[in-house]
Structure formats: C-alpha cells, structure tokens
C-alpha cells in the first residue's frame, strides 16, 4: 500500500518521521500525532494492541502499543509507542472515543498503563484478578486461587 502524499508530508514536516508500517513515535508526541492524523481524515479508529517484551541485555522490560487508523475507504496508518514497564503512555481517549475500551483491554491483558484514561478498569477479567495474562512472564502453570 503506497503512502498518500498528504500523510507523508504531515509525517515528514510535522513529526520528522519516514512513512512506514508501523511508524514508531515517542510517547510524548503520540496524542499530537493522533490529532493531526484525525485532522487529515484518519477518523476511523481500527484498533489498539499491545505486546509485552521482557528485559534483554539491550532493552528494559517494556510493552509496545500499536494503534491503527484508517481514512475510509482505502488509506491506513499504524503507529506504535514503546512503554517501559512501570511507566505510562498517554491515552488517546481524548481524540478517539473508541480508544476507551481498546486501551482498557490492553491494560487488562498486557498491563500497559494509559495515563489520563477516564475509566481505566479491567474489562475482560474480574476486578480482583492478579497479574496480566498476556505478559510473557505470566506463570500459566502455577495453581492459583480460585481461577487458575
């Protein structure tokens, strides 16, 4: 999929980014990027997904959060932020209403904390569940009261 011109110019001029799938942005600029993309017509919030990467020699323990927006019918753009464990990334709820449930799900399952989220509760698992099951260090074979 080729990158549309207005998207490429927005990314190069406003954010100093080369078009890629996905883009990698700094946490401090992600809300601004989302706003600008919404401004040029990327109004469709497709998903927010996170994945956990345990600590390696080079990197600390961290999660990656990926958002995908679409400009209907054909264009789409994905951008990701890296969030070290213990820190938070700004929530996109102020820009896209759909970020609410999506970020709650990622918080619930992967454990990424979204700052300024209006309602950051668990959504899939019970309120008193311990741990975040989609983390790589989640012990799936440990017996635990009462569910696992």
């Amino acid at each position: 999929m080729s990158t549309p011109d207005d998207l490429a110019s927005l990314l190069r001029e406003g954010f100093d980014l080369e078009p890629a799938d996905p883009l990698t942005v700094d946490r401090s600029r992600v809300v601004e990027l989302a706003r600008s993309l919404k401004g040029i017509g990327f109004e469709y919030f497709s998903y927010c997904a996170a994945a956990h990467y345990p600590a390696t020699d080079a990197d600390p323990d961290r999660t990656v959060v990926e958002y995908r927006l679409r400009r209907l019918p054909r264009d789409e753009v994905a951008f990701r932020v890296w969030v070290p464990t213990g820190e938070s990334t700004p929530s996109l709820c102020g820009v896209f209403a759909g970020a609410d449930w999506q970020e709650r799900e990622q918080y619930d399952l992967v454990g990424t904390v979204f700052a300024d989220h209006p309602d950051l509760r668990r959504i899939m698992l019970p309120e008193d569940w311990e741990g975040h099951p989609l983390r790589r260090d989640y012990a799936i074979d440990t017996r635990h009261h009462p569910w696992r």
């Binding site: 401004g39 102020g94 698992l125």
Partner: protein
C-alpha cells in the same frame, strides 16, 4: 466515500487542535449529578437475560423506564483465546479461533490464515482463493439468517411471532450447515483452511446442492420481508431506534453493516480486496438513516448480494491445486518467519482483523484478534441513554453482537 462531513475532513489543522466536541451522549456521566436525590433504579441487564445474545451484562440507571446511563461489563465469556494462540502452534490456531465468532467460523479461519500467509509471503492458489470466497459468502448468509431470527425474537419474544421468524430462518440455516458438512465434514467448526490454501476440495454433487439451497433461500428472503419488514409493528419498533452517528461509529471503530447503515460506503471486500474479491463485482448496500431499520435493510440487502455471489461463484471456480504448501498434520511442522502483520477481512459483522507478531518459531509471539462485535458493543454506552428498556433490547439486537468474539 459518501459521508456528509468529508468537506472539512481534508484540511490540515493550523495551530493547536481544539478539543474534540462530541455531540452524543456522555458515557462517563455521573448518575449523582443527574439525580442528586438518588431515585434512579439500577438494573443489571444480564448476564442471565434472554435477549443479551449470550452472556453480556449492562448496568443500567433507569429513570422510570428511560435509561440515563449504561455501563457494559463484557468478559463473562472470556476464554483467553489470545493467550491460547501464543501457546499453540500456527497449525493449531484455526480450530481455536473458529469458536470466536461462533456464527461464522469460516471467516474467522480466513482472517488468521491470511495473516499467517502475509507474514510468510505465501501465494495462495487461485482455486483456493475462489473456494475461500465461496465459503465466506455462504457463511455470511448463514450468519445473517441467524441474526434475522434472533432480532425478530428480541421484539416478538420467544413465545410469539418472533419465534416463528426464528424457526423459519433456522430451517434455512440448517441447509447451509448441511452444505458445509458435505464440504468439510463438520457442520460448524470446520478447521478447513490452512496456511497456503484449503484442506478440503469441494466434493461431487456439491455445486448442485449449493445451487438448490441458495435458490431456495433467495426465494424465502421475500417471505421474511413479508413476515417482518412489511409489518407495521416491526417498523414502529425499529424506525429511529438506536440511531448511530457516523462520526461516532468511526471513532469507535464500528464497521460492517452498522457503519454502512449510517451512511459510510466502506467494504473491505471491495476497497481492499482479498481472496478472489478483486475479480468480482460487489454491490455494497448503504443506508443513511443509521437506525435499527436501516441496519435491517443493509443486512437483508447483503444477504441477497451474498446469495447472488454464491450462485455466481459456484459455477466459475477455476481448476488447480487447492493448497500452495503441503498441508501439515504435525502441530509443530510449520515454522513462521519473524515479523509483523495485520490483515483484515470483512466478516458478517465488519472488519475482522488479525494482528500477529512472529518470532520465527512455530508459535506466534503475540496474536490479537480485532473483533467487530467488540467495537459495536462499545456503542451501547452512547446509544442507551435516552431510550427505553424495550428500545435498548432492540438496539442490542440490531448491532448483532456475538459474545464469543466480544470476550474472546
């Protein structure tokens, strides 16, 4: 794209972008501010309720019978599918995701397998592409038939006219499952698609059976319209009920028939073709009203369109192999390349995506299903306030949620 707001959409913002002004209901409303006296009745709709299409729970604050605030609590059907997909191999994943959207399993398999194929740059043979298209369209008809029956039941009750519509749509759906049984050996959870193609070629006599089945259903869709759509009670129950704003729907990522009923002409089958859709002419039905009646119209039109596609396809499947790779039987026999992919297909409920990160082993590092119903259910806090309990049930039914894929 036929959206009324598109003229202001293409201006790049100058200076700081103002906070988004949202014209719809506030889902974060504090009931205390609405009613300091505390006279609101809090009602738990579900998880055990006949019309929640599974085990969905909504907490409603009711003023009389009018809803003030609605807070959904999904998760009662959470089975940890994404965690399972991390622990199982690529070969073992399709039968697991079959159970996500348990009304259209074929399209679930299609979504994950297409993601794996993109990840590994596997070219699927043309015959298999056509078979996949055929299966997806056959499944779409079955899924919409189930929706039609349950939607009527939401309004007419399990002991009334709704049940009659339900029984009739299920009669037709059974014949569709019979076709799939002949094809794949399973009525429902097929496990027929694999990386690189399909496992099962169509058997002898299949074309004749499919043609007979879908000709019958095409004739019967007229009966459904006569039974349901032409009924003044149905009209008054759905017209203007659960109106979805197109802007809100896009912000929430709502897709498929709900979005098309709100005036957005977008269909992944046509706009980002996959399988054999690039070679087919697809008419995408669009309505602008955005209410439950419009969603009914869109789904019925889609059903007719899918029946047409099935009847067109069944005679034109090209010859050739059905799988690019040798279908593997050992769970660990297929190793994926490292990388990342997101592939979306247009299921009966909308954009059904698979986001997969692979690390070069036989297992996916992380696999996320992007289910359309989950996004549709996020509409409930916006649609419920201001409508009565009866209308909430109708709205819920018209969104066609499958809780298996909402909760995963």
């Amino acid at each position: 794209m036929a959206v009324a707001h598109s003229e202001e959409a293409h201006e790049a913002p100058a200076g700081p972008v103002p906070t988004v002004v949202r014209p719809w209901a506030d889902p974060y409303l504090d009931p205390e501010t609405y009613d300091p006296e505390g006279d609101l009745m809090v009602m738990n709709l579900g998880p055990q309720h006949p019309s929640t299409h599974g085990v969905f729970r909504v907490k409603l604050w009711l003023d009389g019978e009018v809803c003030v605030k609605a807070v959904p609590y999904p998760g009662y059907l959470h089975r940890g599918v994404e965690k399972l997909c991390e622990k199982l191999t690529y070969v073992q994943i399709p039968p697991i995701v079959d159970k996500n959207d348990y009304v259209s399993p074929y399209i679930n398999e299609l979504a994950v397998n297409m993601a794996f194929e993109q990840l590994n740059a596997v070219e699927v043979p043309r015959r298999s592409q056509y078979l996949r298209t055929l299966g997806a369209e056959m499944q779409r008809v079955g899924s919409h038939l189930l929706w039609l029956g349950t939607f009527a039941m939401d309004m007419g009750g399990a002991l009334g006219g709704g049940a009659s519509a339900f029984m009739h749509t299920f009669r037709e759906r059974e014949t569709i499952l019979d076709c799939f049984e002949l094809w794949t050996g399973a009525r429902f959870h097929y496990n027929t698609l694999t990386v690189g193609g399909s496992r099962h070629d169509v058997p002898a006599g299949f074309a004749e059976m499919v043609r007979r089945t879908y000709e019958t259903i095409r004739a019967r869709t007229i009966e459904y319209d006569e039974l349901i759509y032409d009924n003044a009670i149905f009209r008054s129950r759905t017209e203007g009920v659960g109106r979805v704003d197109a802007k809100l729907a896009m912000e929430l990522g709502v897709s498929g028939p709900i979005l098309r009923a709100s005036g957005i002409d977008w269909d992944l089958r046509r706009d980002r073709p996959y399988a054999a859709y690039g070679e087919l002419k697809i008419n995408v039905p669009v309505r602008s009203a955005g209410d439950s009646l419009a969603r009914y119209e869109v789904r019925m039109a889609e059903m007719r369109e899918s029946i047409r596609l099935v009847l067109d396809l069944i005679d034109g499947i090209p010859e050739g192999p059905i799988c690019a790779l040798k279908p593997v039987k050992l769970p660990g026999a297929f190793k994926g390349k490292a990388g990342q992919a997101y592939v979306a297909v247009d299921g009966p409920r909308g954009e059904l995506g698979t986001w997969v990160i692979a690390d070069g082993t036989e297992r996916a590092y992380r696999l996320k299903i992007r289910p359309p119903s989950y996004h549709a259910m996020a509409l409930i806090p916006y649609l419920a306030p201001g409508s009565t309990l009866s209308d909430i049930i109708v709205t819920l039914g018209s969104l066609d949620p499958i809780l298996g894929e909402v909760d995963r």
